[in-house]
């Protein structure tokens, strides 16, 4: 399969500190790739670069063969990349339904004039947005639908906020979905449930997924391939088994054995 995203020699530094140096990375269509690494390894910076929140110093990011460097974040969303955040960032004062409806902004065409005149096309589109929003939300079973639809996002439980954030990313109709620690802060039962859902995101919705995750159980269960970052460089990649037995990876996580220190 051809790579949906290709990253060449990506380097970004913040005031002399190289957050990422010469990173090479690719994701194939339909793959689930996990990016792991200790805190401060540059994982979230990596997502910020892809979504246009941060500009790299050098290197290139190709999405479906075209460079996406210099695009504004809203344009990155338009071409089909969506993400979630490590610290969930919803629109807290908007309702659950509105959070998901607003995410379809770039996929719709009707403007305020249609709204004022209540044209047929406007009402049709509004209905479609609503239906799609409910369809996306029902992916999480009954947790986000029914009476929850009209509750403001700030009343939701932590796990439901995470689910809503994923639903919102799904609603932008991406090809590539970037999940930043999707199960962080969830209890074991909720983690297992979400792990299954991540698998279904690929099989049922056809998303290609890049995921940052610290929970190795989740990484093992869903990933086709694992990439390990440390101090801004890739130190290993391959299947979960290969990576988890790699001495460099073990060192990055656990430190060097005492006898080598001398």
């Amino acid at each position: 399969m051809s790579p949906i995203m290709h990253i060449h020699d990506l380097t970004v530094s913040f005031g002399g500190l190289n957050a990422l140096s010469d990173l090479n990375f690719h994701v194939d269509e339909g793959e689930i790739v996990s990016v792991i690494g200790p805190n401060g390894a540059g994982k979230t910076t990596f997502f910020n670069l892809i979504t246009g929140l941060v500009e790299p110093n050098s290197g290139d990011i190709l999405f479906e063969g075209e460079s996406i460097l210099g695009l504004d974040p809203y344009q990155v969303t338009e071409i089909g990349i969506a993400r979630t955040f490590q610290n969930v960032r919803l629109f807290p004062n908007m309702t659950v339904l509105e959070n998901v409806m607003v995410a379809q902004h770039c996929r719709t065409h009707q403007h305020a004039f249609g709204a004022l005149l209540q044209t047929k096309a406007f009402r049709k589109e509004e209905r479609e947005i609503r239906e799609r929003a409910e369809e996306v939300l029902s992916f999480f079973g009954t947790r986000l639908i029914g009476y929850r639809l009209d509750q403001p996002a700030f009343v939701l439980s932590y796990a439901n906020r995470r689910r809503l954030e994923i639903a919102r990313a799904m609603a932008t109709q991406p090809r590539l979905l970037l999940l930043d620690e999707p199960v962080a802060g969830m209890n074991p039962k909720e983690s297992v449930e979400l792990t299954n859902l991540i698998g279904r995101l690929r099989s049922e919705w056809g998303f290609t997924i890049v995921m940052i995750e610290h929970d190795m159980g989740v990484v093992r269960d869903v990933s086709d391939r694992v990439v390990v970052l440390d101090h801004g460089v890739t130190i290993a990649q391959g299947s979960y088994e290969e990576v988890s037995n790699d001495p460099q990876v073990i060192e990055a996580y656990l430190g060097r054995p005492a006898q080598d220190a001398s």
């Binding site: 504004d72 960032r89 004062n93 509105e98 607003v102 902004h105 996929r107």
Partner: protein, 374 residues
């Protein structure tokens, strides 16, 4: 928000004592004034009135209703202007002090258009058509002004501290005032007469209302309803609310933040333009300074209602208009204050102080974006 927790552990300072005293004094003033007013309505010659306000005549029911309607109509215009302050504050987090000038340009362009129409005889022969035309012109002029203002003065300052666009807005305000002074001169300009059939009084629910005020109320209500519809029900409105809550995330949802901000200025400008025409037709005079006091009052209204909260701003406008219309006659006059009709502005700003002393976030609460709340 954290200040509340901090204060509870601190000893009571003289500032707290002062504020408490101020609260008590202002509430006492209002209560005594109201009681004196009621006493005066029951009996002109009661003991308090003999002492404080000899020769009190009281108000007839028609007078009170008249003051109330005047206040509401005035307040509706404040509300229309207040929306612009509120929307810009919601999205960008600073007060655009040049917004009063956007309103003034609406009034001024309405004056020019209506005079031309009047010269051509169209104003008298087809008032409805002329009215729609001048409203359209005022909306276009005000919207264009607001949009250009955002592009030229505020967008380059998007990432600078909040205080800088605020000060810039004062500069923009002076610039527009003086540009209008230079172009049209300092004298006050009069709108043409309104047609007889519109200006005459009508009776609605026992209220005897001049036609002009009915027009003001109807147009303001329709504009407000339209705005509410756009903000609450359309995707454009949802995009505006999303940008107000969190610009970065809004961008990642595929929303063009720059365009949404321009749209916010445009809609605020359009509302100010409509307000400008209503103001022009109600008071029939306009100068380069027309924008100043209504601008400040509308800002006050926005703060009274809760900055960033659109319904609150409109309600704040109506509340402020009513307070400044009824307050002098109903509270100050029975207390024996002289020349009360000139104290409208003082009453309006005192009302602001009273509201902020009791509800620092305004009557209906502020709506701020995530980073402003931190």
């Amino acid at each position: 928000m954290t200040a509340v927790g901090v204060r509870s552990t601190r000893r009571v300072s003289w500032v707290d004592r002062f504020l408490t005293t101020l609260r008590i004094v202002l509430i006492a003033l209002i209560v005594v004034g109201l009681l004196a007013f009621i006493a005066q309505q029951i009996d002109n010659d009661n003991a308090f009135a003999r002492r404080r306000n000899p020769g009190a005549t009281g108000l007839t029911a028609a007078q009170v209703k008249g003051l109330f309607v005047t206040g509401v109509a005035q307040g509706a215009m404040y509300g229309l202007i207040a929306l612009g302050y509120s929307m810009v504050y919601g999205v960008l987090g600073f007060i655009n002090f040049a917004h009063g000038e956007v309103f003034m340009l609406g009034t001024m362009s309405g004056f020019i258009a209506s005079t031309k129409l009047s010269d051509a005889g169209y104003w008298e022969s087809n008032f409805i058509g002329s009215f729609l035309l001048i409203i359209l012109i005022a909306i276009l002029v005000s919207t264009a002004t607001a949009v250009v203002m955002e592009r030229v003065a505020y967008r380059p300052l998007r990432d600078s501290p909040r205080l800088i666009p605020l000060i810039t807005s004062i500069g923009v305000s002076f610039f527009i005032q003086n540009a209008v002074l230079g172009l049209f001169g300092p004298n006050s300009k009069s709108y043409p007469q309104l047609p007889e059939w519109l200006a005459k009084n009508r009776t609605i629910l026992t209220f005897d209302i001049p036609g002009t005020k009915i027009m003001v109320l109807v147009v303001a209500a329709v504009s407000m309803a339209g705005l509410w519809w756009v903000v609450e029900r359309t995707k454009t409105g949802k995009a505006m609310r999303a940008v107000a809550e969190d610009k970065e995330i809004a961008a990642l949802m595929g929303i063009n933040v720059d365009r949404t901000i321009v749209l916010t200025f445009a809609i605020g400008g359009a509302m100010a333009g409509i307000g400008g025409i209503l103001w022009g037709l109600s008071f029939r005079s306009v100068t380069h300074l027309t924008g100043f006091l209504p601008g400040i009052k509308a800002f006050t209204a926005a703060v009274v209602g809760g900055v960033g909260n659109l319904g609150g701003s409109m309600a704040g406008g109506v509340a402020l208009g009513t307070a400044e219309s009824l307050g002098p006659q109903v509270i100050l006059e029975p207390l024996g204050v002289k020349g009360v009709s000139q104290l409208r502005d003082a009453v309006a700003f005192t009302a602001l102080v009273v509201v902020l002393l009791f509800k620092p976030a305004g009557l209906f609460g502020e709506r701020l974006s995530e980073d402003d709340r931190a």
